[in-house]
Every structure is written in C-alpha cells, then in structure tokens.
C-alpha cells in the first residue's frame, strides 16, 4: 500500500540521518574544549523541508481521497442484497427485509462473483448505545449509533466463516459481542434463506421433553423478550430464537451451541457471560432439561 511504503521510506531516511548524526557528532575525549560552530539556521533549507513534505502530503491525500470516493460514494448496484443490522447490548440483530427473515448474531451472506457482483448492503443502527461492526477481513468498521442510520457494504468473494467483533466500547460485555459472518455459495445461501423463512417447528412427535419444553417456555417470561415465529413468543428485546438450533454459537459468539451450554445459559447467563442483560430464570432442573430439549429442536 502506498501510504505504508511512503511512511517506511521516510522513516528509513530520517532515522538513518539521525543515527548517523548521533554517531558522527558525539563528543570525543580527544576533542578540544571549544564549542562547535554555532549555526543559527538557513532559510533555503527550511524551505526545502517544508515544500517536500507538502508535496508528499498532497500525494497521500489524493490517493486517500480516491479510495474514500470508491468506497463511500459509488452508487448501489441493483443486484445488491439488503440487511438491516441493529446493535444491542451485547448482541446483533440481523433482518433481511426483502426476504422476510430475522435472525441474530450469525450473519449469512452470498459470495459475490466479480462478473455479476452481489454485494451486501448493511443498514445499521442501534437499539441502545453505540456499537461498531468490524469484520477485519471483509471491510473496515462502521459505527452503529442510536438515533442515526449508517450504511456500509461488504463483498466477500470466497466462501467461509469471517470473524470479527464489536469495536466500540458499549458496556460490560463489549468483549464478548462477537461477529460471525458466513459467506456461502448462492445455492447454499438460498437454501439457508428458505429454511429461515419457515416458522418454528411446533410438533415434536416422539419427543415428549421438547413438547413439554415448548409449553414451559411459553408459560414463562421467556416470551417477553424472545420471538419464536409462529408461537405466542413475540418479544423483541432479546435475539430471535425461531431457528436457534441452526446456529453454531449462542450468546453472540463466545459459546458453542451445545445442549449442555444452552442449559447452563438458561440457568444462569451471568455464569458464562457476566454482565449479560438476560436474567437468570430460576427454573427447576426438570424445566431446564425440557426447555433445553425444546430449544435444541428449533432447527
């Protein structure tokens, strides 16, 4: 990158001169006690080391401006996909408004073919305090600021999982507000969308625990904060759980989505993520078991 090479060259030149001067002009024992020649300055020299840096600065500035314009000011292609990102303490809400899908914490996007690009445009805001969306290998960061809408775009060209995390201090659990972006082939992405569009499974033949778990869930305060599409649970304060079991992680990334972790999370979220806003539900062991069984079935 140009900026990097220019700064490196400046460093080598100036540090080299400095080092040379320090060695060459150190005080030696053999020196006479006379003071060295006093030189008070030179307008020509001052002028030269004013003008040359100005030229360098102009070069850097023009290069930078070009990148800014390419990134921020190009029109959005018609083939772009829209995703709305809402930051919460301490998790991410994603919705695909044109596709009718709402999910949390794990963002799925199609990869983009350079011949017919399908970049993903993120429209970003926050439900509480400021957050920042940063997946280093996909793009720079952009803040999610309450009462304000920011936009950015990403354009992954290779499939895979891209990791990142919140980059604007947002409270106690800023550290465990992780980002996971799954870049998928267009076919896999379409399949994922189809599956996410469905309402949650409500019949669990042969799985009495899950059936009972569903009842327990719907009778408890869980439904005040969480949505499970197709049921009475329509809360918006916490993540959408309609397809919870299709996710690899819980609690916005730091914990693997296994039945054991899920059970511990429901029992006491603060034991896994101190400062999490989900309260401990004080359920008995039986209820915890059946709720875990139920949530594990929400594929």
């Amino acid at each position: 990158m140009l900026v990097l090479s220019i700064t490196l060259v400046i460093f080598l030149i100036v540090a080299g001169l400095l080092l040379y001067a320090l060695i060459r002009f150190r005080h030696k024992e053999t020196d006479s006690n006379r003071e060295p020649a006093q030189i008070y300055g030179s307008n020509q020299i001052e002028l030269s080391w004013t003008v040359i840096p100005i030229l360098i600065v102009v070069t850097l500035f023009l290069t930078t401006t070009r990148v800014i314009l390419v990134t921020e000011a190009i029109p959005k292609p018609a083939s772009a996909m829209d995703v709305t990102v809402i930051g919460h303490q301490f998790w991410w809400e994603y919705s695909y408004p044109k596709l009718g899908v709402v999910t949390a914490n794990e963002l799925h996007v199609p990869i983009s073919d350079p011949a017919s690009p399908t970049p993903t445009y993120l429209t970003m805001s926050s439900a509480d305090v400021s957050h920042s969306f940063w997946v280093p290998r996909l793009a720079g960061k952009m803040d999610l600021i309450p009462n304000r809408v920011n936009t950015m775009w990403i354009d992954p060209q290779a499939t895979g999982l891209y990791l990142g995390q919140c980059a604007q201090y947002c409270g106690t659990q800023h550290a465990k507000m992780l980002l996971r972006v799954y870049a998928q082939s267009p076919q896999d992405f379409a399949a994922w969308i189809e599956q996410q569009k469905k309402p949650a499974q409500q019949e669990f033949p042969g799985n009495a625990a899950a059936t009972e778990g569903q009842t327990v869930f719907m009778k408890n305060a869980c439904i005040n904060c969480h949505t499970i599409k197709g049921t009475v649970a329509t809360g918006r304060f916490g993540p959408d759980l309609t397809h919870l079991a299709s996710r690899d992680t819980i609690a916005s990334g730091p914990i693997q989505n296994t039945p054991e972790n899920l059970r511990q999370w429901v029992e006491d979220p603060n034991s896994l993520k101190p400062g999490s806003l989900m309260p401990a539900m004080h359920l008995n062991d039986h209820d915890l078991d059946v709720i875990t069984a139920y949530l594990s079935q929400l594929h």
Binding site: L22, I39, Y40, F61, I145, R148, A167, G171
Partner: protein, 561 residues
Amino acid sequence: MTTTPVLEAIDETLETQGRPPLNVIYEWLTTVDHKKIGLMYIVYALIFLVIGGFEAILMRIQLAIPNNHFVSPQVFNQLFTMHGTTMVFFMGMPILFGMGNYLVPLMIGARDMAFPRLNAFSFWVSAFAGLLLYYSYIGGSGLYAAGSAPDVGWFAYAPLTSKVFSPGHSTDYWTLAVFLSGIGSIGTALNIVTTILCMRCKGMKMSRMPLLPWLYLVMSGLVFVAVSPLTAAQVMLTLDRYLGAHFFDTQAGGSAILWMHFFWIFGHPEVYVLVLPAFAFANEIIPVFSRKAMFGYPAMVAASVSIGFISLSVWAHHMFTAGLGPAGNTFFVFATMVISVPTGIKIFNWLATIWGGKIIFAVPMMFMVAFLFQFLIAGLTGIMLSAAPFNWQLSASYFVVAHFHYVLVGAIVFSLFSAFYYWYPKVTGKMMDETLGKWHFWLFLIGFHLTFDFMHVPGILGMPRRIYTYEAGRGWDTLNFIVGVGAIFQAIGTLILVYNMIHSYYKGKQAGHDPWDAWTLEWSVPSPPPSYNFAIEPTVSSRRPLWDLKHPEDPDSDYES
C-alpha cells in the same frame, strides 16, 4: 561556572530551614509562589502516575493470557476508564502545567506568575478534582462504601453515560472531576498566557524569548479553545442526567454524534496540549547537549504556532467510523495530514541542531534521543491512521492504542523524564544519580519497546481495544504476553526514578548554578532559586543570554535578526 554577578541572589533568609514542620506545611498549603505551586503540581501528578501505572499493570495481567479471570469485566472496564482519565487529566496536564509554572517565569526573567492567587486556586481545584474522581471507589453508587469507579471509558461516549445505561453516581464523579479539572486548567492557561505576554524581562522581545515559553504560550492558547467545550459538555451531560435535558439522550431525540464532536474538539487539541511541552523540553535540552544554538528558531516558532492552529481542525479523524460521509471525511484527512508538515519541520530542525555538534550523552540527552526516534515512529503511524480507509480498519483497535501510547509515552513521557534529569539540579540544588538514571533509561526503554512495538500487531490482527478478555487461537496470545512483560520493565524503571529523586535529594552531589553549562536565564540564579527568583531584573540582548556572558567575544546578538 560562568555566571554573571549582577544576577546573583542577595540572600536566602526567607527559606524554610530550621522552622517547625507545622509552619512549613502551612507555608506550602498557602503558598502563591510559582515554584512551590509548580512542585506541588509535579508531586501530585507523580502520585497519579504511579496510580495510573498500577491500573495499567492490572490490565496487562488480565490480558496476558486468553480467557483470564484475574479481574471481572466490570473491574476491567473501570480500570481502563480510570487509567485514561487519570493519565490525561490528573497526570499529563498537571505535570506539564507544573513544569511550566516552575520554568516559565524563570526563563523569561520574571519574579512570579501574573496572577499568583489564581495560580494557587487552579492548582487546588485540579488537585481536588483528582481526589473526587478516586472518591468514586467508595462513593460511586451513592451509598457509603457501596460504590465503584466510573466504567464508561475515558471518552465516555453518549448515550452510555445516560441515566438509563449508567445508573448510580459513578459517572457523575467522572463528570464533576473532569469539569473541575477543566476549570483549573483554564485558570492556569490564562495565567501562563498573561505571564508570557506581560512579564518578560528587559530586552526580551517575543523574538528573543526561549522556545519553551513560546510553546507554553501556544499550548495555553489551545487549552482555552479545547478545554472549554469539554467543560461545557460536562454541564450539558449533568443537565441530561438530572434535569431531563436531551442533548445526548438518543432515546428522546438527542445526538450521540454531538457528544463525539464536543469530546474530540477537546480530545485532539489535547494531544497537542500534552505534546507541545514535550517539544518545549526538547527545544531546550537538545541544543545544550549538542553544544549548538537551536537551528531555525523562527521556523520552530512558526511551526509551533501553525500546529496550534491546525490542531483545531483535525478532531473528526477520531470519528471516521461514525459515518460522516465522504465530504467530511476527506476534509479531516487533509487537515490531519497537513499537520505532519510543521511537525516534520520540528524533527528536521532538531536533526540539524544535532548535526555538527559535540553531543554529550548524559541521561537527559539519552532520553531525548529516544524521544526523537519514538516521536518519528509515532508521527508516521499517525500519518497511516490519518488515511481514512486505513482508519476504518484500524481505529479502535490495538494499533491505535499502540500509536497514541507511542506519542504519550514514547514522546511525552520520555521528554518529561529528560526534563526531570535536566532541571532537577535547578530545583533541588543536587545532581541526580547518573548510574541510577542509566538503569532507569535502559529498563524503561526496553519495557517501552516490548510493550508498545508489539502492541501494534494484535491491532492489525483484529484485536479491538477495551476488551477484558479474548479467545485463544486468534494469534493474539503471545503478543499480549510480551506486552505485559514490557509493562513490568517500565514499572521498575519508574520506581527507580522515584527512588533516584528521593535519594539524590539527600545524597546527591551539589549542582551549583549551572551544571550543564546552559544558556537560558534560569541557570543564572542559585539552585534552588530564591523565592524572588532574580535579585535584579535581568536584561537580555539575545535568545541565549548566558551564551553572551560566557562568550563576550562572539555574542548571539550579532547573528540574530
């Protein structure tokens, strides 16, 4: 030592020898002498340096290994908030104001500051602000011994500071402490500006004033413009929290961006408020230890003044990721890059001052050499960060943390340590121990580079700042461990400095008036200077009055235009 007899003090009968301790304490508490106030500033700031450093060590222990449970997330968030606030408001500003308080009148041949009582007032307000901030540990939630320190980060972004997200009083302690510190800073800045403009000795035109007062003039001017909005913003935040105003309350239509503007219109000039005094020390110390006059004095003055002005138009480079849009971003990229020009001029002039000199590597000069290299690197990473696209990637990451610590520690603290060794003989009349000084230098240098060189890398690898822990396997573990080890080196180095200062006070060699064979007025009076500084108002005819006295055959006044 060559000094001029007319500048000698007459006697020292007003000094405190042999008086009851209570009288001495009373005298310090009620003093309006700029030197005593300066020293109190410095001692108070050093106490906060140790406290803030201790907080840094705790954070580095927590981050040394992944998934550590040394402190809880709540405690970690308090630690970085307190570390940042302490180091900027209760260490950096007071210690530099203290140096300025002590040195400016002596260097311009004045007997005190323009407003001695205001000076004492400013000091005590700042000092109480620091105590107030730390009182939050016991009073933060409003109940005795049930509280805790603020945890909103040192830039306290809205709306995290609103009542909804920060209940209790911990945030109020932060707000009031910063508010009071702001009042103290503005008072001192006013005092310094007036002193420099009105109280220079005979013959000292502005163009003959040493560079240190020049830089303090620019720095104090910046304090007016930069600290005032921050102080006002604290009032607005308090109105939001207690009287239902909605400046920053986004739930009611307030603006989070507004706070960012208020904070950074303070925050970036603040960097220059802190770094200009560091330049000031360099401007005095590098020439003396190179045995040459400062190269390009007018250019240095011009560069300092233009840094002052440009630094007022760069603040939004802290907000490149807030979505200001291409026009705003481009402007602030340009302003930020332009400031590297006058900064570069300074580095070149220091280089030219060294060039052709006879460099004496005493401890002050060793710190200055390190300062030059580190400031060069810090400036260059600064240019990188000024390019907005680079910034989108690296802002709020450990790269930024490393960059600004390179400025704050690598440049400012190194320059400050250099100044300690250089002026300590003037203040106490004793030389500081050279061997201990060299131990301090090398330990601190090694620690600094272990910590802050390696800290750049996790930032590039995607590690954001202000996280209390991280998962293993992202390539951050070893680097963070090295960073932690470096912090311990720095702590030991700093403790050696503190020991050296106490030890040398009792055991140090007598310094005499002018141990470094220097050229500015403060070296013409006894060490320590009497309370009235100058028995007779000095008259100067050049920028280096003592050079003229020592070399009457070849005075500076023949060359200065």
